[in-house]
Structures are given as structure tokens and as C-alpha cells.
């Protein structure tokens, strides 16, 4: 009986551990990223297949309403303009619940993209499955994917740079540094960074 109880407890403990792991799950640097298929602001579905010619993708979870995302809009455009021609285009994804944040609805995404003339795809993750798969917790949250063969491998996770609200005071450009190292065939010296952002609001 004791043994049975013990093994039951062990099973319970194990399932608790795996549950908490699953709870914090999401991609780590080095993981292969699954393909996505999400609706772009032009109404067309976009997937990794559309980026087979790229060297990689700068995937950015962002949105319309968040002051941090807004503070970074111009810097995200700059990133795309600087790195798309080098093989790393930006793909922006909005995963927010439009009921909690009406500003983040698909219609408002189209409007914002037109206002700011986004030169990159801005995809709608309506089911939020994609943000959950990646472990995106906030906006903006960057995942740099590097193409290895036909797969995309997560090579950097984190912030764009070290000063969200004052671009003129930025000292370290995390994403640019990582991209430059990748383009030089070097290992990324700082593959993950942290930043405050707006939590992605999950549907109830």
C-alpha cells in the first residue's frame, strides 16, 4: 500500500512538473520553429513557404494598442529596410484578443499598417495558437529564425534594443547585433534578452 501510495505520489508530482513546464513552454534558442499560416493585412494567407528564399525571418509579436509596440514601430520598419535585402525580412504578428483590445482588431491592423506604410507582412494570429506555440508573452517580442536546410531554427529571443521609449539613448541594439553576427557566420553572443512589454491578452 505504501509503495502504491508512493508511486501514485510520484506520478502526481511528475504530472505536476510536466504541467508547469507546459505552462512556461514555448520555443528556446536552438528549437526548430513550426510553419505558420496566418492572414496578412492584404487578406492573403502567409506561411514560411513564402520565405523559402530568405536566409531567415525576424518574427516580431507586436500589436497596435501597446505603447511599447508603438514606440518601436519606426525601429521595426528600419530593421526591415536594413535587413530584408540581406535575407532577413520582418514578419510582424498580432496575437492580441480584439475583444479586450478593440484597437488590435484585424480592421485596425490594416488601418495602422496603411498609416505607417509597413513594408513587411503584418499577420493576424486570431486563434492565439501561434503566440502560445512560440511562448510569446508580450509585445514587442522578437524571435529571429535562421533557415537551416528547409527548417527555420530559433536563433534569438528577446528585445529589439535596450531603450524602448527613447531611441536616441539606445546603447545596445540586441537584434541588429544578433543579425550582424549571423550574417558574418558567427555564433550569436547574446541569444536571449529580456524586456518589459504589454502582456499578450489571452481570450477568455
Amino acid at each position: 500500500m505504501k509503495a502504491l501510495l508512493f508511486s501514485l505520489m510520484a506520478i502526481l508530482t511528475l504530472s505536476f512538473v510536466s504541467f508547469t513546464n507546459a505552462d512556461n513552454s514555448g520555443y528556446k534558442v536552438g528549437d526548430k520553429a513550426k510553419d505558420f499560416k496566418l492572414k496578412n493585412i492584404d487578406g492573403k494567407m502567409v506561411s514560411m513557404q513564402d520565405y523559402q528564399r530568405a536566409t531567415g525571418i525576424i518574427l516580431i509579436f507586436t500589436c497596435n494598442h501597446c505603447p511599447f509596440s508603438v514606440a518601436y514601430e519606426d525601429r521595426i520598419i528600419e530593421l526591415h529596410n536594413k535587413y530584408a535585402s540581406k535575407g532577413y525580412p520582418v514578419v510582424a504578428i498580432n496575437s492580441n484578443d480584439a475583444i479586450a483590445y478593440p484597437a488590435d482588431s484585424y480592421e485596425n491592423m490594416i488601418e495602422r499598417a496603411q498609416e505607417k506604410k509597413f513594408p513587411f507582412a503584418y499577420l493576424h494570429d486570431e486563434t492565439q495558437d501561434f503566440a502560445k506555440l512560440y511562448g510569446a508573452a508580450k509585445t514587442p517580442h522578437v524571435f529571429i529564425l535562421k533557415k537551416v536546410g528547409t527548417e527555420f531554427v530559433v536563433s534569438y529571443i528577446g528585445a529589439i534594443d535596450d531603450n524602448s521609449n527613447e531611441p536616441e539613448l539606445v546603447k545596445t541594439k540586441f537584434v541588429e547585433n544578433a543579425l550582424n553576427e549571423m550574417l558574418d557566420g558567427k555564433e550569436v553572443s547574446q541569444p536571449s534578452t529580456k524586456a518589459v512589454g504589454c502582456s499578450i491578452k489571452w481570450k477568455k
Binding site: K138, A159, L169, K194
Partner: protein, 150 residues
């Protein structure tokens, strides 16, 4: 340290650097500190502020202290943060942490913190209590933590 004094009637919000938190976190006394990281632009944060207000009133005669640490942009202090606190009549102590290089200090608050707010730290150094909650919490959850350890 800089103190942003508005007029007397207005809510006072001290502007602090990370050292403020470091010193508080290592303070050797029997007070239970409930530190909530929030911002006026963060909807889930604003939604849970009443929970912290309830804690402030429920424990006003005990060694429990709620401090709301705003991560609003420093430039927004007088145009957004203070008017918001006035309007909502927030009674808990509020400070504004002006440390825009988050990567420097998020890990020092808690290694598991991804940087999403709200986030709450509960500690009592004498009683060796330490709890970190990323995401929304509640009056009930926090009183449970304080009760069981008291």
C-alpha cells in the same frame, strides 16, 4: 533620489532607480512587502489595482506594505500617471521606476520573470517569505500567501 512634488493635494510619486528596489528587497525587518509592477497602459494591471487597494486597507494596521511600482515612461509621469492616480483615488504608495534598460534588471527581480506585467513580488525577509507571480493575481491569492506564512 528625485521626488516629483506636484501641488499638495496631488498624489506624490517618487521616481526611483533600481537601487531603490535592491535596498528594499534586502531590508531586514518583519514587514511583508507586496510589490506590484504595473503601468497605466497595461490593461490587466489596471484591472487588478483594486485588489491591491483592498490589501492596503485590509492590512493598514499590520506590518504589511503594498507598493505599486509604475513602469510608465518617465515623461508620462505628470501627464498620465498622476492624473490616473488622482482619478482612481489610489491610496497605496506608488513609485515610478525609471530604468528603461529592462534587460539590466528584470533578471535581478526574478530569474523566471519574462518581463510581462503585471508581476508581483511578495517578501518578508525575517520570515523568509518569497513569492513571485507573473500575471494577474488577486486579494484572495495574496492573503492566502500572507496568512499561511504568518
Amino acid at each position: 533620489m528625485l521626488v516629483a512634488f506636484q501641488s499638495k493635494a496631488q498624489k506624490q510619486v517618487e521616481v526611483v532607480k533600481f537601487d531603490w528596489y535592491k535596498n528594499l528587497r534586502s531590508i531586514e525587518n518583519d514587514t511583508t512587502y507586496i510589490i506590484n509592477f504595473w503601468a497605466t497602459w497595461c490593461l490587466p494591471c489596471v484591472e487588478e489595482l483594486p485588489e491591491f487597494e483592498k490589501l492596503t486597507s485590509a492590512y493598514q494596521n499590520e506590518k504589511v506594505k503594498v507598493i505599486l511600482v509604475s513602469l510608465d515612461f518617465y515623461k508620462k509621469l505628470s501627464i498620465t500617471v498622476i492624473p490616473y492616480l488622482e482619478k482612481t483615488k489610489i491610496k497605496s504608495e506608488v513609485v515610478l521606476l525609471n530604468e528603461p534598460n529592462y534587460n539590466d534588471w528584470i533578471d535581478k527581480v526574478d530569474k523566471s520573470w519574462e518581463g510581462a506585467i503585471p508581476a508581483t513580488v511578495i517578501f518578508n525577509n525575517q520570515k523568509k517569505i518569497y513569492h513571485f507571480i507573473e500575471g494577474q493575481t488577486s486579494f484572495a491569492e495574496i492573503t492566502e500567501i500572507i496568512k499561511t506564512k504568518n
